[in-house]
Assembly symmetry: D2
Homo-oligomer: 366 residues x 4
């Protein structure tokens, strides 16, 4: 499998930035899941370029579901989502076609596809492809919510500004999942936007750090080796363009810690076994322990910047200077949060379907 | 697939810490790969408990290859490695059988396997299982070396002490791959060992940070979505017990950076396209660009510590105090490096076999 | 994976008979494969209901390719084919919604999808879904032809009439691949059509036997166990609705044979090793031997017949009588031949991509 | 995956006829399945060469289970079975090493593995490898029986002699699963043996036809496309050496039938929906309908015969005469029945685990 993720529940992603349509096929969905088109549209709005800190490309993201749904519920057979591409300006890309944009996939696509790749607007590598991923994710997020599982993400760091730490997860996730700009501290959010705008004025871009939680996951999901919960989830997360780091629980900070501080002591609460702390992010030995799954994702700065850069023409192997035109985001971390939620929902839903069977996420039999 | 990794070239891992045998099946290996048993033994020695900073359990790791090799070369059919377990003291585990060791998989195994799990010595979750992983990895490391691909790892941080940064990768990897304790700066290595011993004297343990490089990878390997090089490699890395973070290139530091600093400008060197810097760790858009693959792995402190900890008896749901006996490592980061090399070799070899076919890593036809 | 087939090269099939669109995603295609839309249209015409022996439903099968192709060649990223559904008469199905049509999937769909299934026109189970399969197969058949590999199928038996045996495969396959009604003996073909019409006049339907050949397959493709060439190909063939038997070489006749008659002696021809006979259908030990791959597929009679049948209302568990309306084929074997070619192309192309790498079927680098 | 079968529950097969050990890893087994070693031994006895109609090679098939079992029950982690090879006479094979035995995999192995293959006794292609398959199958057969699912196979045809048709499946399967020579009609069985002995006296071998049933399968298992119950089961069946045909229900006879005869009318029995006939072998649209799964497998004559055959030396491309020595079976159909049961159990158990989750086949939680 290449552009497909998942074993029992799988998603296949297709399309190019300037192609006719982009979309996704979700297969292995339980029958009877409610399809809430307005929720899908809302989730799509969360990843859409917004305001002064995003590209001026208008992406309406009008989606249609052309298979797998009848009378507003999943049938259990493959669900296909399509989104049309409009407002594409392929001309912007013609003249720099063979100039590898630093930090982008132009050159690696050329190495892999030998010049046959669709280079316009990043082609199949474009962040545009995250739109169907988010739409499909919305369906899974709804289904998981029906089983008491909630996923949410905030921008922990952006432009040198920090959001506050997670507190009460129930209220924090509820707040984030209503927010266009996913921060817990509104003031920090405004500072972040200012920092992004400042970078944009300098023709530059910024990265950021996303922090996510999954609450309500049953204990006992994941495998000891290879298909550990961390392994499967990280596999999905590293598909997101610009993601260069993934950590669970205290993550890299654990490298500096001691066992006496890093271990999460067990105790009981209302007769249920929990851990007193959650340095391990809800996962022990690759398997969920019933505590919230906590993870962080590092997003690199958007590689498209408005400054002259050194590059090479990969048709001629000549060194060249490159000045990128087109409409680009000075930051994508605030948009990526919706994608992170979606791939987390995909990885979790697949592992749950493997564990509990294909009906688990579905509706009551008619 | 559960305890199996890889698509064209796959590894299946089996066994328990106190079972009769542990082992691995490598399937999809090209025919004609040389099997160097002394190199396998050497690699096994690198993960074996050593000196005063490791468990006193003697692990001889005498391995045998019972299928897939004829006259010292792979046949192309499944290669099976077996390692016998000796010097096991299962009694150590009986009395604390239902007391969940904090930071360990005892409780999650119970949730998943309902009490049928082999709890002795961590069972299938034991770091002991990394022995066949390292042995299998040795075969792949040899085969990759035959194609000009080298993998190596150093302990970048341990016990608050840093090793020097990577410099010339050819000589650094050569040095590391000869070293029992994988540091580039011997003095830093001694400090690290002292820090580990100090923690051990306090009944505590330490974590650490491993930094790895893969040189010689062809450009054009990996997929745009889901099976990105980062996604596949991270999936394998997060299988290693105690790994809680993975980053590529500058990784989490990129969250704090700007596009103008994070992009790697292209240039030519001896007619070949390279990047002037390598903040992206040799991967753009999920696909290798011909530069060294750089990644770091966070290893949490060994959860087995000699201090009283709070826990719960998961048979009775009673809160209890736990004092762990047995023989345990105060650090495993220095042993984990051999495992990191092995799973990196597995992920890389699988992606190469998918890209170039099943003969690519093999010997000249007889 | 569920509605997906293939490991390195995969096809995902989606849609329902009366849904908005049906289609397929082909992923893992080599870059640079020529897309000949008129050839795709021709192949689609071969499976389209034709003349007096097929349903009167008009299926125009106008397809569009919305991703994965640029300037008439594959890009190497997922290729998505869409076909719109028109001329659907869902009303035909409402009144018999819960009456299980004998020989159909209505009842099994209900058991699996609990009533959420799209029951109109067979939904996702409909033979209509073979249209995108045939379109995708056309792309693969072209690509395989570019590597000297030809696939063709004739109707060996239908309505009690036999076509002549395969003779010279080069000319026979060429003839079949031009023919709308795939027989080698035109007179036998006319007799078959008469037999089908006779059955139709009685409100009945007939089955048939398809015989196929793949020429030009390199020796050495397939795996000893599980992913044998026969295993992988049969897996694909049994997906075709109505297929109930698959045999390779002499197949079931070998059960009656003796080793002295069934073995294919080796000899040389123009310096190349061949077999003097081909009772084993070009496969020994699951692996191709360079001789033509020969296989036969049994197609059951169309279950939709115009006679009263006994059935059960699966909503109420009441026994009922059923008289099917709608437009149905009295035979599908003549249409299924295009589907057999397509799934054979898919299975072969996937095994070749696994064996020789992802570029093998593609065009010369630009 | 190559020598691995299954998605949620998988089996990996390894070893060579004259290697040190052969074996299998079963992964994804539910925890708490009882391991009955005497039942495994009994099943192994059913595939062992027996009496005057099998090879004189003594195969003791002493197996050991080295992982995945504790206190006689599966743990839920990979179960590894090992069988030692003894009584091997590799010398028999040295002198004919490069002479392709007609009907065998010698030449195709050479094409695939370039001479590195283990050629002794058929190497990895040997029927010997079915021993671990049968042992693993025994575990699955027990587990399925615990859920009311029974699998059994009889020799329907051998040496021109027919066994009687299936009658009452409950008693027929019970009888077959006690029998060493799996026929329902003992007299027919004696005739079959005589026919085999007659062929053996002529230095020849015979094929045969196996007919199998699976009773107790829940309705609703299998997928509409690609992973149809037929597709998955045939994939497994065609892995068995010498299998050249697979059919479900009336199979190839359906090609000669009419819809009015081939459709299975529905009716109710004790409030349960059943079909009045079972021409479709318990499967509609790729999904089980709750009726017995019926299938037949064609087994070709053993290719090892004691007659001079034409062949080619594939090292030199010279035409040669070959007279095979060694100890070989004049028929294997009576031994293959145990293998058919095993791979059917594997395919069924995997599809059940995918459908109902990984605990479904397991024991009550401790």
């Amino acid at each position: 499998m290449k552009n497909t993720f998942g074993q029992s529940l799988s998603l296949t992603l297709f399309g190019e930035s300037h192609g006719e349509k982009i979309g996704a096929v979700l297969d292995g969905l339980a029958p009877g899941i409610d399809i809430d088109e307005s929720f899908i549209a809302f989730r799509l709005s969360l990843r859409r370029p917004a305001g002064r800190i995003s590209t001026s490309r208008r992406e309406e993201d009008a989606f249609s579901i052309v298979s797998g749904v009848r009378d507003g519920k999943t049938t259990g057979t493959p669900l296909t989502l399509l989104i049309e591409n409009r407002d594409t300006r392929s001309k912007d890309y013609e003249k720099t076609r063979s100039l590898a944009r630093p930090g982008h996939a132009d050159y690696t696509a050329f190495c892999k596809y030998h010049g046959f790749e669709d280079y316009r607007g990043g082609g199949h590598f474009s962040g545009r492809l995250t739109a169907p991923l988010v739409a499909a994710g919305a369906i899974l997020l709804s289904a998981l919510a029906g089983r008491g599982i909630t996923i949410g993400t905030h921008i922990k760091r952006c432009g040198g500004v920090s959001d506050r730490d997670f507190g009460d997860l129930a209220s924090d996730l509820a707040q984030l999942n209503r927010s266009e700009f996913a921060v817990l501290d509104e003031a920090a959010g405004e500072e972040m936007k200012n920092a992004v705008r400042a970078a944009a004025r300098e023709g530059d871009s910024v990265g950021g750090l996303l922090e996510s939680a999954i609450t309500g996951m049953p204990a006992g999901v994941g495998e000891p080796w290879f298909d550990s919960f961390e392994g499967v989830l990280s596999h999905a997360l590293f598909s997101i363009p610009a993601v260069k780091g993934v950590e669970f629980g205290d993550g890299f900070a654990l490298a500096e810690s001691r066992g006496s501080l890093a271990n999460d002591p067990f105790r009981t609460e209302a007769g249920k076994i929990i851990t007193a702390t959650n340095h391990n992010g809800g996962i022990n030995g690759g398997i969920t322990n019933g505590m919230p799954i906590l993870f962080r994702v590092a997003v690199k700065p958007t590689p498209s910047i408005y400054r002259e850069q050194d590059t090479v023409d990969f048709f001629t192997n000549e060194e060249k200077k490159l000045l990128i035109n087109g409409r680009h985001d000075p930051a994508i971390v605030h948009r990526a949060r919706a994608v992170v939620d979606s791939v987390a929902a995909l990885a979790a839903a697949d592992m749950l379907a493997l564990r509990y069977g294909t009906d688990w996420l579905g509706g009551e039999a008619l």
